[in-house]
């Protein structure tokens, strides 16, 4: 895309935002009715699309800068190329973010005028001043960052990297700012003994922003965005790998896929814990949210989340496995037998410890930390070692076991009200459905993944990597990871919105429309899939126009058909 239509799109986004804030001051327009989807789903679609684009343009620059810096430090041009290619895609998707954002505010105002006006008025400074300013700043810095890439080289490189850091700073603040109203809708300020409505009247803007779930949401989204950015970079690499036949290009994109996946997985490891933190705060705010999520109307959404996270962990470890297969000399790598022992015993021990010392009791750490670190600390004293291959296979077994624990529900019912004995876990085994077991399952997945990366690291220090020779299936794994991560985001976004039950703002602003019920998981899955597909089509198109079109001559060897695989 040429710069001018891009700027035009961004401009439209701005106008919509300002227009929206101004329009919100005029009371009274009756809500419109969206045909076919209905109003709620219409808002759902635009909001989720907007979040996906926004998540990418916030998440990608984080590792772009890291990558650029690594390239500078190691004097390895591959990192710089990766950073620049991802930035190119980011710049295009930036205008999509502005466009969908503008659309979002319009659709909101058209469908829920009263509520939207109310929300904008409560966060007037945010919507009318802070957010637009940040957005303008972000636009300016992003374009400067992109267009100075080739000029600020050599001794000016440090300056360019600093600009990238500034970009991330603005991006992160933007995320934190908009999370204010978002988290406020879930957990509005409250005070003991006073009704939320009364409390709200005296609350300052800061009170409203700094609510129970603001920080947990900030952190979860920030890290989630890095995961997501990493996996999309992996997908970019997969597309490009598939569309080239040149060996050097293949080895570059093979490498890029690996780095993208590494970043994605690295951030992924923290997500289960941040997810728990978020739900912990939600339950702390109002303990009845917890059963609504885990035992009642949304319980099956969390089953699906468990399935998705299980698949994501399986796929990312499968990718490491295939990366390892292309290293010559991997057979020689061995590791202490303590590693597989810890893997196998972790779910049991941790469930027990967390049951006896529930979170946030630090006592549990006294047991778990030594256990987790034992392969590192005691490994050298125990002479028995096991081959990397065996450990990885034990690891896969434990990932399946971990998934199994994560997914075992208390009952196969969509609501606690319908629980009958034939669909319920026997009470002796009910612990399988409780938090300690779920935590230990998550921990097992994380632990196995870390061990796999440690093995990988040893393998590359002892052997040689043959870039570009990875099993072709791995490219599908990269695509799978991106697709599944986005699908999961869509699912969890829906969950967070639905947690407000029949309120726009929980317990404060009731949703009087006929659509305030909890939709079925199946219905949600259709829309989440649809949203994911739309997002993917746009991203795929963006990758196609930026990267394929930028140097077609390098990529298309004479006489070969045009690689449409660049889609």
């Amino acid at each position: 895309m040429k710069p001018w239509p891009r700027s035009l799109l961004t401009l439209i986004g701005f106008l919509a935002l300002f227009g929206g804030a101004a329009y919100a001051q005029v009371p009274g327009a009756p809500p419109v009715e969206f045909p076919y989807t209905g109003n709620r789903t219409a808002v759902w679609i635009v909001a989720q699309l907007h979040i996906l684009f926004a998540a990418f343009i916030l998440g990608a620059p984080i590792f772009v800068v890291i990558s650029e810096w690594l390239g500078y430090r190691k004097q390895d041009p591959r990192y710089d190329r990766l950073a620049k290619e991802v930035t190119k895609v980011t710049v295009i998707l930036y205008s999509m973010t502005a466009l969908t954002g503008g659309l979002f505010i319009f659709v909101l105002l058209a469908t829920y005028p009263q509520f939207t006006t109310w929300l904008i008025n409560h966060f007037f400074m945010v919507f009318a001043v802070i957010y637009p300013l940040l957005f303008i700043g972000e636009t300016f810095v992003l374009y400067t960052y992109f267009y100075t890439w080739d000029d600020w080289k050599g001794n000016k490189k440090a300056r360019h990297i600093a600009l990238g850091v500034l970009l991330n700073l603005i991006g992160t603040i933007t995320l934190f700012v908009i999370d204010g109203p978002t988290s406020f809708m879930n957990t509005p300020v409250k005070g003991e003994g006073i009704s939320p409505a009364e409390f709200l009247e005296t609350a300052t803007l800061w009170d409203k922003i700094y609510n129970y779930t603001w920080m947990p949401l900030n952190v979860h989204r920030l890290v989630g965005n890095v995961t997501f950015g990493g996996f999309i970079a992996g997908m970019i690499a997969a597309y490009m790998y598939m569309s080239t036949t040149k060996d050097e290009e293949r080895s570059y994109y093979d490498w890029m896929g690996f780095v993208g996946n590494l970043i994605g997985v690295g951030a992924l490891l923290f997500l289960p814990f941040m997810g728990y933190l978020l739900s912990y705060e939600l339950c702390d705010y109002d303990a009845s949210i917890c059963p609504y999520m885990m035992a009642d109307q949304l319980s099956m959404f969390f089953e699906m989340q468990g399935a998705m996270i299980g698949l994501i962990f399986l796929a990312s470890n499968y990718y490491i496995w295939m990366s390892m297969k292309r290293i010559q000399g991997v057979e020689k790598v061995r590791m202490t037998i303590l590693a597989p022992i810890v893997m196998v015993t972790l779910p049991v021990v941790m469930t027990k410890v967390m049951t006896d010392y529930p979170v946030p009791d630090p006592m549990s750490l006294a047991f778990l930390l030594p256990m987790l670190l034992s392969p590192v600390i005691f490994g050298r004293f125990i002479p028995i070692t096991v081959s990397a291959r065996t450990i990885i296979k034990v690891g896969f077994l434990m990932i399946v076991v971990g998934d199994a624990i994560w997914m075992t529900p208390h009952g196969f019912v969509p609501t606690g009200a319908k629980l009958v004995a034939e669909l319920e876990l026997p009470s002796d085994w009910n612990f399988l459905a409780l938090m300690p077991a779920k935590n230990s399952a998550a921990f097992t997945l994380v632990f196995v993944t870390v061990v796999n990366y440690v093995i990988y690291n040893r393998a590359i220090s002892q052997g040689t990597i043959v870039w570009g020779r990875i099993d072709f299936v791995s490219q599908f794994v990269l695509i799978f990871l991106a697709f599944s991560a986005i699908w999961t985001m869509g699912l969890m976004g829906a969950v967070r919105s639905l947690l407000r039950k029949y309120f726009h703002t929980y317990n404060l602003m009731p949703d009087f429309t006929a659509e305030s019920f909890t939709p079925t998981l199946s219905y949600s899955a259709w829309w989440i899939t649809g949203i994911t597909v739309v997002f993917f089509s746009v991203v795929s198109f963006a990758i196609f126009v930026t990267l394929r079109a930028s140097h077609p001559k390098d990529h298309v060897p004479e006489g070969s058909p045009v690689p449409a695989g660049a889609k």
């Binding site: 998934d403 034939e422 002796d428 599908f476 317990n507 009087f512 019920f517 597909v533 695989g565």
Partner: protein, 266 residues
């Protein structure tokens, strides 16, 4: 190939073992199938791990393969999500309707009030204008009459069986998510309430609902400190509904259930 068959056999054996084992432990059939499914998942994982590598693709073929792959993913995710038990929104629609009835009336009342206020303001303006015109000696314009009367009369509380309303409120406010009653619901989040009538009077229960910090249940001190029982019913429920719920609960005097006692805190 031989290896793959070996793995499949092992996987099926493990699955069968889990099936039989969980049957012996009296897991309901759904759970047995679930464990069996986990064994199949494990088998597939181990088959895939050592599967022969895939031939590189290119151009249109790769494009087609990716497209097909996306279609498969979409189908699998939608089908997968649809296979889980589905919550029936109809169950909730009636509930929400009832829950929001009072608030909706209040908000419509609010809107009506606002309209009346606006009409009144217009009225004043018109009068003032007429005064000015009169003062200027112009024609006497008839003052515009306000049209709005007082808002619709407050809806009379549906007379009916108090106990029925109380039971309804128990379901609507989802107290069952934390309290077991008549052997249903609970999950040990809060005390079982079948004998609450012998321990607390209607007024005590009412006070507990309106202000959970007013009473502390023995054996649930930690939960009390953390404020597990939500402090929101005073904002969400109408007074008459709270009374009905308290009345209904105070009829539960099943001494065979060990409902813990509460200590008055306020």
């Amino acid at each position: 190939m031989g290896k793959a068959i070996f793995k499949i056999i092992i996987g099926l054996l493990v699955g069968a073992g889990l099936w039989v084992g969980t049957m012996a432990l009296e897991f309901p059939p759904v759970f047995r199938w679930m464990f069996f499914a986990y064994a199949i998942l494990g088998t597939v994982v181990f088959l895939v791990l050592d599967a022969p590598s895939m031939k590189p693709m290119n151009g249109a073929k790769a494009f087609g393969a990716v497209l097909v792959f996306y279609v498969i993913l979409c189908v699998v995710y939608i089908a997968g999500a649809s296979l889980w038990p589905q919550y029936d929104p109809e169950d909730e629609k009636g509930k929400i309707e009832k829950l929001l009835k009072a608030k909706r009336e209040a908000s419509e009342q609010g809107k009506a009030d606002e309209l009346i206020a606006r009409v009144k303001a217009l009225d004043e303006q018109a009068k003032a204008l007429a005064e000015r015109i009169k003062a200027l000696g112009g024609d006497l314009a008839p003052p515009v009459q306000g049209t709005g009367g007082p808002g619709a009369p407050a809806s009379t509380a549906a007379a009916g069986d108090m106990l029925k309303i109380g039971e309804d409120q128990w379901q609507l406010q989802e107290c069952y998510n934390c309290h077991k009653l008549k052997g249903e619901g609970g999950k040990k989040r809060g005390p079982e309430l079948d004998n609450i009538g012998s321990l607390m009077s209607m007024d005590d229960i009412k006070q507990k609902i309106l202000d959970p910090k007013s009473w502390m249940t023995e054996g649930f001190e930690k939960e009390f400190e953390k404020g597990k029982m939500p402090d929101k019913y005073k904002d969400l429920m109408e007074d008459k509904d709270v009374v009905a719920l308290a009345v209904w609960l105070s009829t539960f005097k099943n001494t065979s259930v060990n409902t813990p006692k509460s200590i008055k805190k306020k």
